[in-house]
C-alpha cells in the first residue's frame, strides 16, 4: 500500500504542487533534525532544508514510486548539506576531518523560544544531542537513528536514556 508520503510524491510527479506542500508537512521535522547535526548551524540548516525541498521539486521526475520516499528526500538533504560544507571548506580553508560536524554544540539563534532544547544543546554531548533531536523532534525511530549514526540500537537507546536523565537533573537544579 502506498503511504501518504509516496502518494504526495506521486502527486508532485504529476505536477500537483499541493503534493509538495504535503511532502513538506510530512517530512520537515525529520529533514531539519537530520541536517542540523551535519552542519551544526541552525541558520545554515534552515537554508539547506529550503534547498532540499526545491531540489525535491526539481528532481521529482527522477523519483521512482518503488523507492522509499523518505530515504530519497534524506539523500537529497544530505548531499545538499555536504555540498555546502565542501563549498565553505573551499572558501574558508577550514579543515573538516569528517563529513559530520563534531562541534560540541550547535549554533542556535538566541531568540528561539525553546528553553529545554537550548539547555540540552548546552549540557549534552553532540552525540546525545543528536539522538535527542532525531528521536524527540524528528520523530525517527531508535532503529532508524542507529542506522543514521551507524551505531548499535542498544547504544542509541542507552544514550537517549542517559541524555534524558541529564536533562532531568539539570532542570531540577
Amino acid at each position: 500500500m502506498s503511504t501518504k508520503l509516496e502518494s504526495a510524491l506521486q502527486r508532485l510527479k504529476e505536477h500537483d504542487l499541493d503534493g509538495l506542500r504535503e511532502i513538506y508537512e510530512l517530512t520537515s521535522r525529520g529533514v531539519f533534525t537530520f541536517v542540523l547535526p551535519i552542519v551544526g548551524d541552525y541558520q545554515l540548516a534552515e537554508d539547506i532544508m529550503q534547498e532540499t525541498y526545491i531540489k525535491v521539486h526539481e528532481r521529482i521526475d527522477s523519483y521512482s514510486p518503488d523507492t522509499n520516499g523518505r530515504n530519497w528526500i534524506l539523500t537529497i538533504a544530505k548531499n545538499t548539506a555536504l555540498d555546502e560544507l565542501r563549498k565553505r571548506k573551499h572558501e574558508e580553508s577550514v579543515d573538516f576531518d569528517d563529513e559530520r560536524q563534531t562541534l560540541g554544540s550547535y549554533s542556535l539563534p538566541e531568540d528561539l523560544d525553546t528553553p529545554t532544547i537550548q539547555l540540552a544543546n548546552k549540557i549534552l554531548s553532540p552525540e546525545e544531542m543528536e539522538i535527542v533531536l532525531l528521536f524527540a523532534i524528528g520523530d525517527y525511530k531508535h532503529r532508524e537513528i542507529a542506522q543514521i549514526l551507524d551505531m548499535p540500537i542498544g547504544t542509541v537507546t542507552w544514550k537517549y536514556k542517559n541524555a534524558l536523565d541529564k536533562l532531568k537533573k539539570a532542570i531540577k537544579k
Binding site: 500500500m1 503511504t3 501518504k4 508520503l5 509516496e6 502518494s7 504526495a8 504542487l17 509538495l20 506542500r21 513538506y24 508537512e25 510530512l26 517530512t27 520537515s28 521535522r29 525529520g30 531539519f32 533534525t33 541552525y42 534552515e46 532544508m49 529550503q50 525541498y53 526545491i54 521539486h57 522509499n68 520516499g69 523518505r70 528561539l112 523560544d113 525553546t114 528553553p115 529545554t116 532544547i117 540540552a120 535527542v132 528521536f135 524527540a136 523532534i137 520523530d139 525517527y140 525511530k141 531508535h142 532503529r143 532508524e144 540500537i153 542498544g154 542509541v156 537507546t157 537517549y160 536514556k161 534524558l164 536533562l167 532531568k168 532542570i171 531540577k172
Partner: protein, 283 residues
C-alpha cells in the same frame, strides 16, 4: 516534569518553517476560487454600470467570503483504542470512528448546511453510533476544543476510549488555507485533550497531523517503571506513526515491526511495570 513532553512541545517552535519560501520559489499559486461575476463577458460600460448598481452589495459580500474562507479550518478526528488491533495488527478502516467539523475564524464550529442540523459529520457507522443522541446544542457554534472533547467523551462512553494501560490513539488532522489559524487551533485542541486524558489517568496519545505528541500525564513521573514504560510506549507510538498501513504517517516500511512490538505489549500484560529495557534493544 516530563522532558519528552517539553521537547515535543518545543519542536514546532524549534523547526523553522520554510514552506512559504519554497512554494514561492517553485511558483506555487493556490487554486483560484470561482469568480462571483464574470466581468470579461460584460462590456466596459455594462461593467461600470453593474459595479455602480451592485457595488454596495458585492463589495461587502466579497469581503466576507474572503475572511471566512481564509479563516476556516476543517478538523478531522479519528479514535483508536490500541486493543482493537487484532493478532495480525490490522484493523479495518471502517471500524475506526472518524468525525469531521469546520470552524470559523474564532475557532467555533459551523453548521454543516443551511438547515443547521449539526456541526459534526460522522464519517462512518461507528462514528454515527457514537454521535447518536448528541444534539445541536452540543455541537453548533461551540469552541472546537469543546466539541472535540464531547466527541472523545462520547467515544469513551461507547467503549472506543479505554480506561486501561493499553492505550488510546486520537488523531487530529486539520486543513485550511490559514496556517497560523490552524496552528492555534491545534494547540488549543492538544492542550484540552491532554488535560482530559490527564484528569482521567488515561493512556492517551494525541497525534496532530501525524506528528507524534505523546503524553502519559496521568502517571507519576518519578516512578522509574513508568519512565521506562513511557520510553517503550513512546517508541511504540513512533513505530505506529511510521506504519505503511496508512493509519498514521507515511514514512517507513515497518508495519510488521510495529505488530511485533504490539504483541510484546500484550504478552507482558500491557502494564507499565511489565517491561524491561526498550524493546528496540531486542530487535
Amino acid at each position: 516534569m516530563n522532558i519528552k513532553r517539553k521537547l515535543r512541545k518545543e519542536a514546532s517552535s524549534f523547526v523553522p518553517n520554510v514552506l512559504d519560501k519554497v512554494l514561492d520559489r517553485v511558483g506555487y499559486m493556490p487554486t483560484p476560487k470561482q469568480p462571483f461575476w464574470n466581468f470579461k463577458k460584460l462590456s466596459l460600460a455594462g461593467a461600470a454600470g453593474a459595479l455602480i448598481v451592485v457595488g454596495a452589495v458585492a463589495i461587502p459580500y466579497y469581503s466576507n467570503v474572503a475572511v471566512v474562507a481564509n479563516a476556516e479550518t476543517l478538523v478531522e478526528i479519528s479514535i483508536m483504542p490500541a486493543s482493537t488491533y487484532n493478532a495480525t495488527g490490522s484493523i479495518a478502516a471502517e471500524d475506526i470512528p472518524v468525525f469531521a467539523y469546520r470552524t470559523d475564524k474564532d475557532f467555533k464550529t459551523k453548521v454543516l448546511d443551511e438547515n443547521g442540523t449539526n456541526a459534526v459529520y460522522a464519517k462512518n457507522q461507528n462514528a454515527k453510533i457514537i454521535l447518536a443522541g448528541i444534539g445541536t446544542e452540543n455541537t453548533v457554534d461551540k469552541p472546537a476544543e469543546e466539541v472535540t472533547l464531547t466527541i472523545i467523551d462520547k467515544a469513551a462512553l461507547s467503549g472506543f476510549i479505554e480506561i486501561s494501560e493499553v492505550g488510546n490513539f486520537v488523531t487530529v488532522t486539520t486543513s485550511g488555507d490559514n496556517l497560523a489559524n490552524r496552528t492555534k487551533l491545534e494547540e488549543r485542541i492538544y492542550d484540552t485533550v491532554m488535560e482530559y486524558f490527564k484528569a482521567r489517568a488515561i493512556y492517551g496519545v494525541l497525534k496532530i497531523n501525524g506528528n507524534n505528541q505523546v503524553d502519559f500525564s496521568g502517571y507519576d513521573e518519578t516512578d522509574d517503571d513508568v519512565d521506562e514504560y513511557e520510553d517503550d510506549y513512546s517508541s511504540h507510538c513512533h513505530e505506529h506513526k511510521d506504519d505503511d498501513d496508512d493509519r498514521g504517517q507515511s514514512w517507513g516500511d515497518d508495519y510488521d515491526e510495529w505488530v511485533d512490538e504490539h504483541d510484546d505489549h500484550g504478552h507482558n500484560g500491557g502494564g507499565h511495570g511489565g517491561r524491561g529495557r526498550d524493546n528496540e534493544d531486542n530487535d
